[in-house]
């Protein structure tokens, strides 16, 4: 599966950075285009998501596959285009090194809508960059 990766050093303790991921609803605050997280299970291990780009709606179901506080948080989108999102937090003094890795399937019928797999890769790379940048912005003063 193709994957994209982004990193940032955040001026915040590792526990605080990890807190960003443990509430699934919080993703709406920093993931571009993500409009709703609903049906979150009581143990916060599964939820439904909905992206909305000017009326184009993409929805599906996700499950958390690893939550190792405060180091690693991973979830998978289980319906349609499967993807695996892994956040890793590593303490660096009073700062935290955050990395986001997204592995995704490229379905051929949807690929036709984009110019090429390279364009899709670029879009995903930009999204990952924005997500990491937003987390950094929200956590720093």
């Amino acid at each position: 599966m193709p994957k994209v990766m982004e990193n940032a050093v955040i001026t915040a303790p590792v526990e605080k950075v990890f807190q960003m991921f443990v509430e699934p609803e919080r993703a709406v605050m920093f993931v571009p285009g993500l409009s709703r997280i609903s049906n979150v299970s009581p143990d916060k291990r599964s939820w439904d998501f909905e992206f909305n780009w000017l009326g184009l709606v993409v929805s599906g179901h996700s499950e958390c596959t690893a939550s190792e506080a405060p180091k690693k948080y991973q979830f998978k989108t289980l319906t349609g285009n499967k993807s695996t999102w892994t956040y890793r937090c590593e303490p660096d003094g009073s700062k935290t090194k955050l990395s986001l890795e997204v592995e995704y399937e490229v379905p051929q019928q949807q690929l036709a809508r984009f110019a090429s797999e390279t364009v899709l890769q670029k879009m995903n790379q930009n999204t990952a960059r924005e997500i990491v940048s937003h987390i950094k912005t929200l956590l720093e003063p």
């Binding site: 409009s35 709703r36 009326g55 285009n81 929200l138």
Partner: protein
């Protein structure tokens, strides 16, 4: 996962930004929400602020000679550096966000997150 085109989302609240300005350490935004159903705006904004790791403080309206249900209300956060006020009128709700702290990028991100919550929180 489903992909579909849905130009009208009936669960969504129609909120448009009618003004924004930024100068120095402050930014202000004015939004207009079409009132299609009764909504607990304090709960909407407090929920969003908690997700933003802020501690909201709700102040009920106290304007004299104004019925309770159209009293202006506000939520303060970030040690009063952030303030959201809203007031119901006959057809819409005017929401004002004032941010007097944070970097310009963070102010813009907080405003975008609160606007998203105003639109999509059920």
């Amino acid at each position: 996962m489903s992909v579909r085109f849905r130009p009208i989302d009936w669960r969504r609240t129609w909120v448009i930004q009618i003004h924004s300005s930024s100068a120095g350490q402050s930014s202000s935004y004015v939004w207009l929400a079409i009132q299609n159903r009764k909504r607990d705006w304090a709960a909407v904004f407090c929920g969003a602020l908690k997700l933003l790791m802020e501690t909201p403080d709700v102040t009920p309206g106290v304007t004299r000679n104004v019925p309770t249900d159209v009293q202006p209300q506000e939520v303060r956060f970030a040690e009063d550096a952030g303030r959201i006020t809203w007031q119901r009128t006959w057809f819409w709700i005017i929401i004002r966000l004032q941010l007097n702290s944070f970097s310009p990028k963070k102010r813009a991100l907080i405003a975008a997150a609160l606007l998203k919550s105003a639109r999509y929180t059920d």
